[in-house]
């Protein structure tokens, strides 16, 4: 597992306070604990970890675990296993 992948997974688990058993690949905004408050915590964790600053439109579009990887790629952050 790559370091970026570990950081990405960790941010989801810590930021959204989710347990190990949830399938992140299908995880979407509004699922379980992913509300607007948790969303901003997740975004700030990712920005800190990868030293980037997401555009507001990307913060809004970041609506799933899979979509998030696509958005981070725009900022030069590759999330691969």
């Amino acid at each position: 597992m790559s370091n970026n992948w570990k950081i990405y997974e960790q941010a989801f688990k810590e930021g959204l306070n989710i347990n190990e058993s949830i399938d992140l690949e299908t995880f979407k905004y509004r699922d379980y604990s992913w509300d607007s408050v948790a969303h901003m915590i997740l975004i700030s964790m990712l920005e800190d970890a990868f030293n980037i600053q997401l555009e507001t439109d990307d913060v809004i579009d970041f609506n799933s675990y899979v979509k998030g990887k696509e958005i981070l790629l725009k900022y030069g952050v590759t999330i691969e296993r």
Partner: protein
């Protein structure tokens, strides 16, 4: 480590007074916004830096230009990872005219400067505050938001939007440890008053129980208080500083 503070519209009037008030704080770093560089503004910053041995950094952008604002503030946020306080002070008032004699473009311009630029700035800065789970936002509204006869349509409505924004942000940002309050100045002795008709100015002055104009420092001291720990249980409020006009 000292606080990092962003204040908009600091070259004159209430904003200049707010800058002077904050600059008295030890170890503070102030990002002082102005629309464009000027010898007077640069001299002001130089003098404040010398008097207080603090760091005051100018940042220039026109609030009408959202792209420029975003670029400049993103540069600030890259340089300063922690922003403790945002004071949304900058604003404008158009020459007086009635609603039916005001073009939509004029109304849009007022809203861009008095409201939308502050929305955008707050969105950008609040994200930095969220990261640190602490922050303080102080907006400068106006008594015109409540006493609608005191100014023209676009000023009254844009300042009313600031009051509503203050309440809404207080709720939405509270989970992140961010407070949001506003100050609603009455008639304050600044350059902005020059655009007001003399008769209206005199009438408004007499309508305050204290029967005088307010001074910029009578606003800035409250702004400083609202941005400090001393006001830690005040949130979502717009506080009038109007010499008692509101109680008459």
């Amino acid at each position: 480590m000292g606080r990092n503070v962003i204040i908009t519209g600091t070259s004159s009037g209430i904003g200049k007074s707010i800058l002077e008030e904050f600059s008295k704080e030890k170890d503070i770093t102030i990002i002082a916004h102005a629309r464009k560089p000027s010898p007077q503004f640069e001299l002001l910053l130089k003098n404040l830096n010398r008097e207080n041995e603090n760091l005051i950094i100018p940042v220039y952008f026109d609030l009408i230009n959202a792209e420029h604002l975003t670029g400049q503030i993103n540069n600030v946020l890259k340089a300063y990872k922690k922003i403790d306080v945002l004071v949304n002070n900058a604003g404008m008032i158009q020459p007086n005219s009635s609603f039916l004699m005001t073009s939509l473009d004029t109304i849009k311009e007022s809203f861009q400067i008095n409201f939308f630029s502050q929305v955008l700035l707050t969105q950008l800065v609040a994200r930095s505050m969220i990261r640190n789970r602490i922050g303080n936002i102080v907006n400068i509204a106006s008594i015109a938001a409540f006493d609608v006869t005191t100014a023209q349509f676009e000023y009254v409505t844009s300042k009313a939007a600031i009051v509503a924004m203050t309440m809404k942000l207080a709720i939405e940002l509270a989970p992140f440890g961010i407070r949001c309050n506003a100050v609603a100045p009455g008639l304050i002795k600044t350059k902005m008053l020059e655009n007001m008709e003399k008769e209206l100015k005199n009438n408004l002055c007499h309508q305050a129980a204290l029967n005088r104009l307010g001074m910029p420092e009578e606003i800035s001291k409250l702004v400083y208080f609202l941005a400090s720990k001393d006001s830690s249980f005040i949130n979502g409020q717009t506080i009038r500083v109007d010499g008692g006009r509101g109680v008459i």
